[in-house]
Symmetry: C2
Subunit: 418 residues, 2 copies
């Protein structure tokens, strides 16, 4: 029987140790974890094989099975990623905003770990290692809860992670896994505000909503993107086709993939047949508004958009097409339908680009680029723990620095308040 309060206490104690663990020691532990994962590879793959077989019997989709499956190559990648986190800069301990008050009190801020992270995720077992490594590097403990379909894989991975921590002389409780699949424990974790400082859900819209509804701890919601690109009348149309193709096709199943292209009416006749012709070759089908339908006029793979299509995150090879009068209507559409993830304008008009960037309130706003760049790796952060579409704490790709907070330090010489 899992006692979440007891797990919370243990994680908190480990977090207190990690908060003052030097960078070199944390890096040594990350390398020890990579070693331990390699040493335990056979056992991990066997556990994963059992999960995969059960998953097949339970009728999981091929896509789910693929996400669940570990191979020697994938295990090599996981160990390499863990060593790579050891090479990233440590955000903890950085001091900033230092100043001396008129009374002589010296004030500064110091970056510190958040404490204990609660991570709730689905299927992919690599998340277990990924999140553990990022939490450790940033000085945080983590309580993990993966999907029941990956329990054996996760338990085997966790055993190696904790062995690595132990080998490096750090508390194994820096990473705790809730190994009881009773869903009540998810609820308990969401309400463990006495010990847990941040909840990170990694999964679909349903998981995010469940966390937001039930947590008494701040939740980083995100990962849901109804993303737009607006093709302005001054856009380079050849480039615009390339960008829209990339944003829709390069990896359609992810949150920063394009969902709706808005086309300025002045270029609709020239542009729509081009973009439809090109993307159809990639297997894309289209949901068009009446004006776009008129232009495309019976083109195969194009159907009329339904009332909910503008609010749908497709996660597949479907693209919404809508003709707009111009920048204002494009902005109004995005304000009404964007989930605040990634939205962009394709234009050669600088004033239009500026206005779009000023007014569109999304985590990432693009000018003449694909929405697919909203990603910790692409933005050069070296890692990614989540993409936030809420506004507190961090927005867009979150990496090591976003797993920290700060404390105020004030040093006086017997200073008292007047």
């Amino acid at each position: 029987m899992v006692d979440l309060n007891e797990l919370g206490r243990r994680a908190k104690r480990a977090a207190q140790d990690l908060a003052t663990t030097p960078t070199e020691h944390k890096n040594a532990a990350l390398n020890a974890i990579a070693d331990a994962l390699e040493d335990a590879q056979e056992a991990i793959l066997a556990a994963n094989q059992a999960d995969v077989e059960d998953g097949r019997e339970a009728g999981l989709s091929d896509a789910m099975i693929d996400r669940l499956t570990l191979t020697e190559a994938r295990m090599g990648g996981i160990a390499a990623d863990t060593r790579r986190v050891a090479n990233l800069p440590d955000p903890v301990g950085e001091e900033f905003d230092a100043y001396t008050l008129p009374n002589g009190l010296r004030v500064r801020k110091r970056r510190t770990p958040l404490g204990v992270l609660g991570v709730i995720y689905e299927s992919r077992p690599n998340v277990t290692v990924d999140v553990s490594a990022l939490a450790l590097k940033s000085g945080n403990a983590a309580i993990l809860r993966g999907g029941s379909e990956t329990l054996r894989s996760n338990m085997a991975l966790i055993e190696a992670i904790r062995a690595g921590l132990d080998a490096a002389g750090l508390p194994a409780d820096a990473v705790i896994y809730i190994d009881d699949t009773d869903r009540a424990h998810v609820l308990s974790l969401l309400r463990l505000h006495r010990y847990v400082d941040m909840i990170i859900p990694r999964g679909g819209a349903g998981l995010h909503a469940f966390c937001r509804e039930n947590a008494t701890i701040p939740v980083i919601t995100g990962g849901i993107g109804v993303c737009h690109l607006f093709v302005d009348d001054s856009a380079n149309l050849a480039s615009a086709v390339d960008v829209i193709q990339n944003a829709k096709v390069q990896r359609p199943t992810v949150c920063n993939a394009l969902d709706t292209a808005l086309i300025h009416e002045a270029v609709a006749e020239a542009f729509l047949p081009q973009v439809v012709g090109r993307l159809r070759e990639d297997g894309v089908t289209f949901r068009a508004d009446p004006r776009a339908l008129d232009v495309l006029n019976g083109s195969p793979g194009v159907e009329a958009a339904g009332p909910n299509d503008w609010d749908t995150e497709w996660l597949s090879l479907v693209l919404g097409l809508k003709v707009v009068d111009g920048l204002d209507e494009a902005i109004a559409h995005i304000q009404a339908h964007s989930t605040g993830h990634s939205d962009g304008i394709l234009t050669r008009d600088e004033a239009h680009a500026d206005r779009f960037v000023d007014v569109i309130d999304s985590a990432a706003v693009y000018v003449n680029a694909s929405t697919r760049f909203t990603d910790g790796g692409q933005f050069g952060l070296g890692a990614e723990v989540a993409i936030s579409t809420q506004k507190l704490h961090a927005r867009g790709p979150m990496a090591l620095k976003e797993l920290t907070t700060y404390k105020w330090i004030a040093v006086g010489e017997g200073h008292v308040r007047e």
Copy 2:
């Protein structure tokens, strides 16, 4: 009948306008609000008089009545504070973390308003103006919900605020007040995540817990301080008495006032009689652990500490006294009992100061200074909307900058992801 969804929609629309309103225009509106408050002073004081009379009849304590009462002088202060906010720097629009990726994509972050703030508060009507001014300056709309005992005062203040906004040509819905005292509306506000980006409770521990339990929106919890000072064996004892007196006595009813003094055993015999002798003159009584009791030996005003006393935020002239073996025990006590608000060490030993600062995980950590400095005004922020003791987004005093988030802006030339 108040429709929270409708209020949310209106606030959100106003927030979209405010997000791109130039600083000068926001400042003009703040000055217009100050003018409107002065123009309406008679009506506001009359409304307040009615609230005060009802409060007296309802048996509110003198302290509550005092907090509720507006006078000509207080109204002058409120208008002056509003004009002062106009003179603070505007955090919105600041750009930072700019860099160019190897592929040439130019990335930067821009500071933007959060959007819509939900503020739930008790008694003091000046909060109505204070929060409205800070929200407006930082480009946010606000939905306010004050205590029912101040409804008429708040309605009169809000009328002036909205008149000021209107006179300045900004949407009056930048500040919306929930004028129905049905408590169900508080719950609805806490669940209005579609429109509200941050909840700020201003009140006691009960209000904070209620918000945390029920909100689906991130809540800035804070304002609860069980604060400690540790008198090390190397402390300047004369200075330590001054600092402890200041931290306890200067304003005992607030969250950054001292609750427990921890005394190194090596100086307990010298120090305890001094501190008790001095603070007794201010009317302080003491709750002492057995070792401190031994030293103080029947001293008037000193009684044995009960089991919950170390976890009590006194908010009054009571001070806990505990003798500890040294730094480690002091740290352990603080880790067990601190609410993470403000804790400090009084020492001349630099290594002890460093260790204390490293290990104590509170919003503000002090060396040789009173805990009473944890305050936006004292720390030079020019304002304060709350003191956060949670770790996400902002910690300690929160002012204008802490009412903002950021967006990523990426500018390319037809950039696509490989």
